[in-house]
Amino acid sequence: MSAPILVIDGLSAVSQRDGTPILRRVSLTLHRGETRGLVGESGAGKSTIGKAILHILPSAVRVTAGQILFEDRDLLTMPSAPLRRLIGERIALIPQDPMTALNPGRRIEAQLTDGLRLIRGASARTARARALSLLEEVHIREPERVLRAYPHELSGGMRQRVLIAAAFALEPALIIADEPTTALDVTVQKQILRLLRNMQNAHGTAVLFVTHDLGVVAQVCDSVTLLFGGKVIEEGPVAQVLEAPRHAYARALLDACPRSDHPELGLRPIPAELIARLRREVATP
């Protein structure tokens, strides 16, 4: 395997307000072209990791220890100006809600070409040409018309395509996808997942895929990190974690999922004792 593109080592974060830990010595490694699922229920800390990488943590959260090595540079200790440039150019974000991720007051063209013009210093004409080819790449019909459109004129699926196009605009090495399909209908979700995977294969991009849906993980991720209470509970290749989970919590979570293919298997509530035991386990260092 190639050299890792992202190495997170012992990352810890606390809430400034009451000092409760949000991440507890999280470590993970991501290689070029790999998709790693970051799963857990609400409060597990999965999106905090993505935010820490992008340096967009809310002011109430503070990183207390650890390293985030991206292409061998520690993002946590880099000076601010080169850091901003590095993140802008090499790391992209696909956010959860396509409804709020596009500025309602600006045309698609302006939003799609922002990065090209600001970071690459591209001219309006080259940026526009690049935007057109990006829209074609994400299979948008009538890309000319879409460039002139405002976000409210596009459907949710179309907007998410535009956001994927924007994420790939600068050929980043890493994309952080924060629940990118949670707000979409299932049929649209599948199209978007496929599009993302195909784009990623074509460009060799690594993806950190934050989600709560184990089904999505099974179908699109290569490897997975399962979190509970800010701590890594289990991690490894998807096949191993989902088919032969080692930790009882991973098994229980799988059993709780409703299964349309095997209705007799799913929907078993996670035993309260297990949750209580996990809480204690996570809290002890």
């Binding site: 229920e41 609400s42 949710g156 209908d185 299932v186 049929t187 649209v188 979700q189 599948k190 997942l193 496929r194 995977r197 709560h212 849906d213 184990l214 089904g215 999505v216 993980v217 099974a218 179908q219 699109v220 998807v238 096949a239 989902l242 088919e243 229980a252 979570l253 799988l254 709780a256 999922c257 409703p258 299964r259 349309s260 293919d261 209705p263 799913g266 929907l267 078993r268 509530p269 996670i270 949750i275």
Partner: protein, 276 residues
């Protein structure tokens, strides 16, 4: 069938689009374009569809909380399509509703006690306040809700607790029919499983008929006997859950089913296309 508890024939609903300052009156949006459903006694049906399919509108219409443009709704052998608010009142106890957003569906200024006991007193399900409280406490224990919750306000509860209070409020009226509108879509899988199991138990114990509205087919399959697949205001497929899920007939149903990612690894799934 004669033992249907609730049936709706050829429901059509047209919403008027509001008139704006610079807009002429719109033609109206057809939310339902002729939908027929029936719910047998003690039966749980699923109503599935993607956004814009009209599933929530259908649910509200079944309970006479939205006005229908044409069609007929029959509850327990009685045509309730044109019934006034006053005549509906005695029937209201028998047809209850559980909401998607438990926070919005509980009055923020009332205590949980008031929220769950007032309907019982109103419909004389409970003889007096003490009786109502006794019943509320019994169901709270059954739902593993702390009794202290009764004296609290909705915002002081957790999301899962609020959802269970919503279920308790409906169940305490001992209804014949309950409409559950996307009640687990905001919950984590573990809480979701807990709420769904509670509902399944209830319907079995009380002989409740239920209509379960969801966008999530796996949830519907887990709790429903029969299912209606809605698309753009029309039923495209209906039938027993096993039949519909094992061998869907309509291409849209196939596409929907195929689009559900299963937690079991299926290497070809992502690139495979079905339906449409």
């Amino acid at each position: 069938m004669t033992d249907d508890l609730l049936r709706a024939d050829e429901l059509k609903i047209v919403f008027d689009t509001p008139r704006g300052l610079f807009k002429r009156k719109g033609a109206g949006v057809q939310a339902l374009r002729g939908v027929s459903v029936r719910v047998g006694r003690g039966e749980t049906i699923g109503i599935v569809g993607e956004s814009g399919s009209g599933k929530t509108t259908l649910g509200r219409a079944l309970l006479r909380l939205a006005d229908v443009s044409s069609g007929r709704i029959v509850f327990d052998g009685r045509d309730i399509t044109g019934l006034g608010e006053r005549d509906m009142r005695p029937l209201r106890r028998r047809m209850q509703l559980i909401f998607q957003d438990p926070m919005a569906s509980l009055n923020p200024r009332h205590t949980i006690r008031r929220i769950v006991t007032e309907p019982m007193l109103f419909h004389r399900v409970a003889a007096d306040p003490a009786d109502a409280q006794r019943r509320a406490r019994a169901i709270f224990e059954r739902f593993s809700l702390p009794l202290a919750c009764l004296a609290r306000f909705p915002h002081e509860l957790s999301g899962g607790q609020r959802q269970r209070v919503g279920i308790a409020r409906a169940a305490l009226l001992a209804p014949d029919f309950v409409l559950a509108d996307e009640i687990v879509s905001g919950l984590d899988v573990s809480t979701q499983a807990q709420a769904l199991n509670l509902l399944k138990e209830l319907s079995r114990d009380l002989g409740l008929a239920m209509a379960f509205i969801s966008h999530d087919l796996s949830v519907v399959r887990a709790v429903c006997d029969r299912v209606y697949v809605l698309r753009q205001g029309l039923v495209v497929e209906e039938g027993r859950c096993d039949a519909v899920f094992e061998s869907p007939k309509h291409p849209y149903t196939r596409a929907l089913l195929d689009a559900i990612p299963s937690p079991r690894i299926d290497p070809g799934w992502l690139q495979r296309d079905q339906g449409d």
